[in-house]
């Protein structure tokens, strides 16, 4: 299979403009004749559905929550990057482009990243006009902060709830279109199958989570904006419902899955407190601006109260190893170092899986009110969850899965290799390479939804002749029956174990073998173990109740079934990528001082995997990545 990224050529700063001009347009009067499906209502899906509705297309949008306003974009805290250069500190579109390519460890497509940086400025204009209450200076101008180790202040924010406010902006625009009848919203609906007719994506099969009704919906194009797959690890900062099902079902129908091994681990999360733990909570990275990370120098001290450990017996390991960046090293480095000290037996808290994040110096220097002003809401949240007061005792933190850079393969138009299937936001693989910079996820979701897909989908529709399809088209019937059969099978296994018990087992295995650090031996073991867990799942699962009503166990079971297939591909991709880059750290491939070592000669490509059928090995297709503007270098934060 030939993978064509369809990137325009010429000077990089003119490519998107040129491409927009070259694209075919759909006549305004014809737009309402087209039916489009958007799955997911987060920043990417919500923005796309609202904008496509506004353009006059007939849109149906689906989400599994009770309202589109609840999509997990809402939980993003820190902010959104944009190359506005309002601070006059030397930022530019080119610099944001450069930082993103470098931050992604030279595993992203230059053309896509440049477009993202270019559109970032339009996003801020759009959101401000919608009434998103961004932070402001006393002059009334928009405020910025520096975020995630960037050397310029380009991050726009709305207290610690930027994702919420941006999502509500998109949600409100979407509800307006619902009101005028251009968008039909189907909440509490889950996509179970993709309908492919003559090689083109033409619809989806969904289950109504209240009535249990399984239905097919046909359309001229399908947009998946279904988020990431972080919940393959069971414990992550994702919402409990986040899942890979839509993407995986599309993959099984022919869409390529790219770079599944690129996962991002966030260093500052609240550690696990017990077996019952259901999810992990992220504490904003901004805490590292004033907090100092340490563990005891000696193993024997890990059981002591932190106040009883003398200054000289503490190891401020980030400051020691990275004197110039100190506690502000990038996410992957901070995470890996936390794991290393815990592996040495110097971790603190339950199970020894935690490190201290200590504010006592900052409180002494600035006073408690100043710290409360900066981080009060985070300190309160920490106290609610752990019962400990971080003004008196250091916080305990540990890394957790937070974002996934891999996703369905798409070209420059955000269309997958299946014509008519578009993929937006975290669900695609396109812009972050092997590592995403802080405050870039919101930017990408909104760029895809507001400004890219509304153009590129028109281009596709204008030059494609689509045959009529209906519920009785053979492919639609087949997909519907497949979804129905699967639900029936899940209900009829009548085994002993709950879906959660399988999910936890899979998650722990993936975290141990394919988490912060990976090696061939562990990955091979995971690849051997996952099919065994899967086999037991299909023999020993217990789902009570029936399919014809609200059944949350059944919903979970379907999602876990897909994670059990996806997890194996993630480990395979991690095994085959014999290098370390960004969030993918192979212990066999590191420099003498323990940093990630890329192999540009052999691995400067996106790995796009093709489903070959049940029980068959996946086929690997490579999209070569070329760097004309930003020349690959070794990242160094010493």
């Amino acid at each position: 299979m030939e993978l064509n990224s369809n990137c325009p050529t010429g000077p990089i700063e003119k490519r998107w403009e040129k491409h927009r001009f070259d694209m075919k347009l759909v006549n305004p009067a014809n737009k309402r004749k087209y039916n489009l499906i958007v799955v997911g209502s987060g920043l990417a899906g919500g923005a796309a559905a609202a904008t496509l509705g506004e353009l006059g297309y007939n849109v149906r949008c689906f989400c599994y929550q009770d309202s589109p306003r609840r999509a997990h974009s809402i939980a993003a805290q820190g902010g959104i990057n944009a190359a506005k250069n309002y601070q006059n500190d030397g930022d530019s579109i080119y610099r944001l482009f450069y930082d993103t390519v470098k931050g992604g460890d030279f595993r992203a497509r230059e053309s896509n990243v440049y477009r993202l940086a270019e559109l970032s400025v339009n996003i801020i204009d759009q959101c401000a006009a919608q009434g998103v209450p961004f932070a402001r200076e006393y002059s009334g101008h928009l405020a910025n902060r520096s975020f995630g180790g960037a050397q310029v202040s380009r991050t726009f924010y709305a207290r610690g709830q930027t994702g919420q406010q941006l999502l509500l902006g998109a949600y409100q625009a979407l509800e307006k279109q619902v009101n005028v009848g251009n968008v039909k919203m189907n909440s509490r609906s889950e996509m179970l199958e993709l309908i492919v007719v003559n090689g083109r994506a033409r619809g989806i099969v969904t289950r109504d989570m209240i009535s249990g009704k399984i239905e097919s919906h046909l359309a001229d194009a399908v947009i998946l904006a279904t988020g990431g797959y972080g919940n393959v690890f069971y414990l992550s900062t994702n919402a409990k419902g986040c899942n890979v099902t839509a993407g995986w079902r599309a993959h099984r129908r022919g869409a390529l899955f790219a770079n599944p091994c690129y996962t991002q681990i966030h260093p500052t999360c609240i550690p696990v407190s017990g077996e019952y733990q259901s999810k992990l909570t992220l504490m904003s990275e901004s805490l590292r601006n004033d907090g100092r990370v340490w563990v005891p120098k000696r193993k024997e001290d890990t059981g002591k109260s932190p106040q009883d450990i003398a200054e000289g017996d503490r190891d401020y390991y980030l400051e020691r190893k990275y004197p110039s960046f100190g506690n502000l090293v990038p996410r992957d480095i901070a995470s890996r170092n936390a794991k290393d000290v815990c592996d040495e037996g110097r971790g603190v808290g339950p199970g020894g899986l935690g490190v201290y994040l200590d504010f006592s110096d900052a409180i002494r220097r600035l006073g408690q009110p100043a710290i409360a002003e900066r981080y009060g809401n985070l300190f309160d949240m920490y106290e609610r969850i752990t019962g400990e007061n971080p003004y008196q005792l250091p916080m305990r933190i540990y890394p957790a899965i937070h974002y996934t850079m891999g996703g369905l393969w798409v070209d420059y138009n955000l269309m997958s290799n299946l014509p008519g299937l578009f993929v937006a936001g975290e669900a695609n693989f396109s812009d972050h390479g092997a590592n995403r910079l802080g405050a870039s996820a919101l930017m990408q979701g909104l760029a895809d939804g507001y400004f890219i897909i509304p153009y590129t989908i028109g281009n596709y529709l204008a030059q494609t002749k689509l045959e009529a399809v209906s519920d009785s088209t053979a492919e639609a019937r087949e997909a519907l029956q497949a979804a129905e059969a699967r639900v029936k099978t899940l209900l009829n296994i009548n085994g002993k174990r709950s879906p959660d018990s399988f999910h936890k087992e899979l998650g722990k295995l993936c975290w141990d073998k394919c988490g912060m650090a990976r090696d061939a031996k562990g990955l091979e073991e995971a690849i051997r173990r996952i099919p065994e867990i899967r086999e037991e799942f299909w023999k020993n699962l217990r789902v009570l109740g029936e399919g014809g009503s609200l059944n949350q166990t059944l919903e979970k079971a379907g999602r876990v079934a897909d994670f059990l297939e996806f997890g194996e591909l993630m480990c395979l991709d991690a095994l085959k990528r014999e290098e370390s880059c960004g969030g993918h750290f192979r212990t066999e491939h590191q420099t003498e001082d323990g940093e990630a070592k890329r192999d540009d000669e052999n691995f400067t490509y996106a790995a796009a995997w093709e489903w070959k059928g049940e029980g068959q090995a996946h086929a690997l297709h490579k999209e070569r990545l070329d760097f004309e503007y930003v020349k690959p270098t070794q990242r160094s934060y010493k």
Partner: protein, 258 residues
């Protein structure tokens, strides 16, 4: 700790419900309230009994999906805390806990603790937005917004749409929810053009959905996990009266492009 739970069980909206008693012999104080229910559900599944249905998603107190009435209080005993952020250290050994769904005519029960809150979406549809076509926005810093206005708008915009305000109100009024959006957008210069139309239309929709009127009990404010102030209700009332006195009823709503 050992707890006794009384949980509202209702197979569907059309069936009658009742409280069912469950003993929890070993609850850790570090568990969240929902994790305690997870443990109960795993036990119910292994005993071959139907697990308790409840809504939840982010479990970080921001998505607004979770919510149940705990011992008579929406989201339970802790101030400014959603159900998912409530931890069991707020309870003690031997406690009995009564758990119910939101009770309001406009939030019909779907199953057990799960209710239908789409009426909130319809209130937003009626006007809870600023109309701006994608791509047509002016340069963001052309519009200066004094910091106090931006901060007040943010305070209102922090609403997570969970519905605790409705569940807490003896009239099942949605005034706090509706006013939060009216006040958020009304505090911003971008929101002025549609301000009168917005408040009239949203209040009309709120009434049509069957929510009760506000009689200043202030239970909503006390239950709100985001501490939205009833200041915004006063603001809505002022906007509504002004709109009724100064503008005419809209005849038709214009459509977008296309």
């Amino acid at each position: 700790m050992r707890l006794k739970l009384h949980i509202w069980r209702q197979a569907s909206g059309s069936k009658n419900g009742d409280f069912v008693e469950y003993n929890m012999p070993d609850v850790s104080e570090d568990m969240s309230f929902l994790e305690m229910l997870d443990v109960l559900n795993e036990k119910l599944i292994s005993d071959g009994k139907d697990p308790v249905a409840f809504d939840h998603d982010c479990r970080e107190g921001i998505c607004g999906m979770c919510g149940m009435v705990i011992n008579g209080r929406p989201h339970g005993p802790r101030v400014a805390t959603t159900t998912c952020q409530l931890h069991m250290r707020s309870f003690k050994d031997g406690d009995e806990i009564w758990i119910e769904p939101w009770r309001a005519q406009s939030f019909p029960v779907l199953k057990d603790l799960v209710v239908d809150r789409t009426s909130f979406d319809r209130i937003i549809q009626a006007g809870g937005y600023i109309s701006v076509r994608t791509g047509s926005a002016p340069e963001a810093n052309n519009l200066l917004i004094p910091k106090p206005d931006a901060d007040t708008a943010f305070d209102a915009a922090a609403c997570i749409g969970c519905g605790a305000c409705v569940a807490a109100c003896p009239n099942a009024s949605a005034m706090l929810f509706t006013s939060a959006k009216v006040s958020h957008l009304g505090h911003l210069p971008q929101g002025q053009a549609e301000r009168s139309r917005r408040v009239r239309s949203m209040v009309a929709r709120m009434d049509a959905e069957g929510f009760g009127g506000c009689t200043n009990h202030r239970e909503c404010e006390a239950a709100c996990p985001k501490q939205i102030s009833i200041f915004h209700i006063a603001r809505l009332n002022r906007d509504l009266i002004k709109a009724q006195l100064t503008t005419q009823e809209e005849k038709a709503v214009s459509e977008g492009a296309g």
